[in-house]
């Protein structure tokens, strides 16, 4: 009996503490400014990386937070919070709970379009407020240096004849980025995409499998291929960028477009806010991200990671995302993978 009392007491004290404080919390929220006018953050800003520490989202978030803070662009503290799970779905559902709160941002990239279409998240990009896009990265398709194919057309000719003779490897599961970027370009080249064999391998095994000959084509990001190309281990048949890029080695990668395949795939990365943000706060962040994108400090970081500058403001970003989604939808319908 005494023990039960103790548990009850523990519960009671905590509930008491909770009640005692709820008033303050309400008071804080009403301080937000209304429509129009200018807006400034009133408390520390939280940037959610919907993945674990160390990944692409996490790195982008931490680097952006660092530059925004150190260059004095935003006075308030900026903290990066990791919400891991479901390829982003856990983080998105977390943000969706903070409707209209301009102090919660998150970093996003194509998975926010792909994952909902795969039926793995109830929230998609329409459910949030896209603020600004910052960078772009592109996909690359690589084969072993001694492979019989010298350009994308060679490869796709073989695949048109016998699609099952070629195995493609990527890090992520079917229906996600590495798979979709390959399917998108292959379809434009006229390959029967329902016959493409795709294997997913994590933890660096995908490159391993390409190098040891288990698979034929590696669908990945451009940066991942550079060192292997330099060492003459692999060759890049094509990249998904609209035009050739600058930079050592990268400048030699032919685009799909110049090989007569009129298709691109952008691995964009930018920042979103919760649903229902007001115009003043959207304008504030657009402004700050523009300043960040133009800053030298961020340019240095972009160079280091091999990211391309690709600033888009709120409206442009939104239109871009809708267009991206339509494109992917068509592909997934063709593959019979659309689970939305």
């Amino acid at each position: 009996m005494k023990k039960l009392l103790l548990i009850a007491l523990f519960f009671f004290i905590i509930v008491l503490a909770a009640c005692g404080n709820s008033d303050d919390a309400d008071a804080g929220e009403s301080g937000d400014s209304g429509e129009g006018g200018s807006w400034e953050p009133e408390e520390s800003i939280e940037i959610v990386a919907p993945a674990g520490a160390g990944g692409g989202w996490d790195t982008t978030a931490r680097m952006v937070a660092k530059v925004l803070g150190e260059e004095g662009m935003i006075e308030e503290n900026i903290g990066v919070v990791n919400k891991t799970g479901g390829g982003g779905a856990v983080g998105w559902s977390y943000i969706a709970n903070y409707e209209g709160d301009p102090h919660k941002l998150f970093v996003a990239s194509p998975p926010i379009i792909l994952i909902p279409l795969n039926g793995q998240s109830e929230y998609g990009h329409e459910d949030f407020t896209p603020l600004s896009n910052l960078i772009a990265d592109y996909g690359a398709f690589a084969v072993r240096e001694d492979a019989e194919w010298d350009d994308l057309n060679d490869l796709f000719e073989d695949m048109k004849e016998d699609p099952e003779s070629v195995t493609v490897v990527g890090e992520s599961a079917p229906g996600s980025m590495d798979h979709i970027q390959f399917v998108q370009i292959a379809k434009a080249a006229g390959v029967d995409i329902t016959k493409i064999r795709y294997v997913s391998a994590q933890d660096g095994e995908s490159l391993t499998q390409l190098l040891n000959g288990s698979v034929d084509v590696y669908s990945t990001g451009m940066a991942e291929t550079v060192e292997q190309v330099k060492a003459d281990n692999i060759k890049v048949l094509g990249i998904t960028a609209p035009e050739r890029l600058e930079g050592e080695v990268i400048e030699d990668f032919p685009t799909a477009i110049e090989q007569g395949i009129d298709e691109t795939f952008v691995n964009w990365r930018g920042f979103f806010g919760p649903p229902g943000m007001d115009e003043a706060s959207i304008a504030y962040y657009e402004d700050k991200f523009k300043e960040l994108s133009d800053s030298e400090a961020f340019a240095e970081i972009r160079d280091q990671f091999g990211w391309d500058e690709e600033y888009m403001g709120h409206e442009e970003y939104k239109a871009f995302l809708d267009e991206q989604k339509e494109q992917v939808q068509v592909l997934l319908d063709d593959l019979g993978l659309n689970n939305e």
Partner: protein
């Protein structure tokens, strides 16, 4: 028939295996792979059915000490459930009230519940431990923990 512990346990396992198999057979198929997502689960499910049946008929070869483990006095079961309940409340309130407050209260009450009677030491340890972890995570390592209602 169901006197032996093994046969009773095996029935529970059988139920788990069947539920697992039902869900395995409902998995959607995916056209682009040779061995689909449902193959291994089905194998595992049937394997568990097979093992459960084996267990049902196998002799009870537990040692006396192992059997003794199951004789838990009623009072002690209450103790375990109590700690379980405290953990449950902790998880429930962690993100509502914040890390420091709930952790400190948890350590204090859990120790008290288990019969620790040096209230002052208990209080100091519970607050110091929670505050220390919170400080190290949030300030030194920049890893956010729920701050909750404390003005931090």
């Amino acid at each position: 028939m169901l006197k032996s512990i093994n046969s009773r346990v095996s029935l529970v396992l059988l139920v788990i295996a069947i539920v697992y198999l039902i869900f395995s057979y409902q998995l959607p198929s995916y056209a682009y792979t040779e061995v689909d997502a449902d193959v291994i689960p089905k194998v595992l499910g049937w394997l568990l059915v097979f093992l459960a049946i084996l267990l049902f008929f196998s002799k009870d070869n537990e040692t006396e000490a192992q059997r003794q483990k199951r004789n838990i006095p009623k009072k002690e079961i209450g103790m375990l459930l109590g700690v379980g309940a405290l953990i449950f409340i902790y998880i429930f309130l962690l993100e509502i009230l914040g890390f420091i407050l709930v952790s400190a209260l948890f350590i204090f009450f859990c120790s008290l519940f288990l019969g620790y009677r040096s209230h002052i030491v208990n209080g100091i340890v519970s607050i110091a431990f929670s505050a220390f972890i919170y400080f190290v995570f949030t300030s030194l390592l920049q890893i956010s923990l729920p701050s909750g209602i404390l003005p931090l």
